[in-house]
């Protein structure tokens, strides 16, 4: 797509660095050598994902394109790019902070909402993020009950986290604004696959994304770094 000069704000990265609390540094060192993309597992399976281009846009100020892109949400967080980078750019941290930035602009909330239950239902209630009932990566049938297996191995049926500890992390969550944040996006359950029937499935497939996630107004994201092969059907 044609870009206009006023799409670019060169100073964004400089302004943003102090807000990002030292988590992001050194993007201006990027040589555009492409070593990151060459080994990237996400780039190997996504038609348009390219870490090199995201860094390029960030440093050169085309922040609009980065934040509104779907590609920003396709990173695998494998840190392979960091391991291989000749100038030591910790790209996964950039993605992490950029996603927070994108959320502040109203992008990507559907994805975050999907994951919010891990924090609310598991982390803050049990102190453990992955519950025994968790089906992700989705499993069709389990072999045996985990509690039984634990008992056979001579361990308590369930790993216990003390009430005190749970109270403490809830307190941290309250103090740091995480609870507030979750209240903000609570409200609608987006996809409840456990209650899915063929009818719901049909509906669900044709359903567009909600305009709102909780109290937050959301925006569409776009394939900003290339057209996916096979068009939007491949999304």
């Amino acid at each position: 797509m044609l870009e206009k000069a006023n799409d670019w704000s060169d100073t964004f990265y400089d302004k943003w660095k102090p807000i990002a609390m030292g988590f992001v540094n050194g993007a201006e060192k990027c040589l555009q050598c492409g070593k990151c993309t060459g080994q990237c597992p996400a780039a190997a399976v996504n038609p348009s994902y390219n870490p090199r281009k995201i860094i390029y846009d960030l440093v050169n100020g085309n922040i609009k394109r980065v934040l509104s892109s779907v590609e920003l949400w396709q990173c695998f967080f494998c840190s392979g790019c960091f391991a291989t980078c000749p100038v030591d750019i910790n790209f996964p941290f950039f993605v992490f902070m950029l996603r927070l930035g994108a959320m502040s602009q109203g992008f990507g909330w559907e994805d975050v909402k999907q994951l919010e239950k891990y924090a609310e239902k598991d982390y803050l209630q049990d102190g453990i993020t992955v519950s025994p009932e968790e089906r992700n990566p989705y499993v069709i049938e389990e072999r045996g009950d985990i509690a039984d297996i634990r008992q056979k191995a001579g361990m308590p049926r369930q790993r216990e986290v003390s009430d005190e500890a749970i109270a403490e992390i809830n307190m941290i969550s309250d103090l740091s604004g995480m609870t507030n944040f979750m209240k903000k996006i609570g409200g609608v359950e987006l996809y409840d696959c456990s209650k899915c029937t063929p009818k719901i499935e049909e509906k669900c497939k044709s359903k567009e994304l909600p305009k709102k996630v909780g109290n937050v107004k959301t925006h569409y994201r776009f394939y900003n770094y290339g057209v996916p092969i096979g068009g939007a059907d491949n999304a």
Binding site: K205, Y223, A232
Partner: protein, 128 residues
Amino acid sequence: MLYKIGSDQKKNRILQKIKSSGNDNLNQCLQCYKCGGMCQKSDKFDYTPRQILEQIIDGLEESILNSRAIWICETCNECKIDCPVAINFKKIMASLREIAREEGIEPNTEEVNRKFVKKAHCPKKEDD
């Protein structure tokens, strides 16, 4: 998306066809980006001329023939006039269209919807 470079360049069908239609200076391309910058249509392209060229050399047949750029190009040949090595893009586009027609690929000039719509989230098998 990951692609592989074939070990034998001679098997690269699309490159052979383009070359046989009188374009023998493909590998003179400097990848200087001038063509994409000056073309009046390039904001509509999914691939700029130099990218098409790079893909021809690597033999990415599927992606070239399905691209919109080969149909949107107005074959004004202004890029040849400006090209530092005078690559005849009009001819290349013409032969690409010909190949695409032979393959039965419909001309595709519609604006692609870049909007992200999330669908395939369901864990169930599609044909259940």
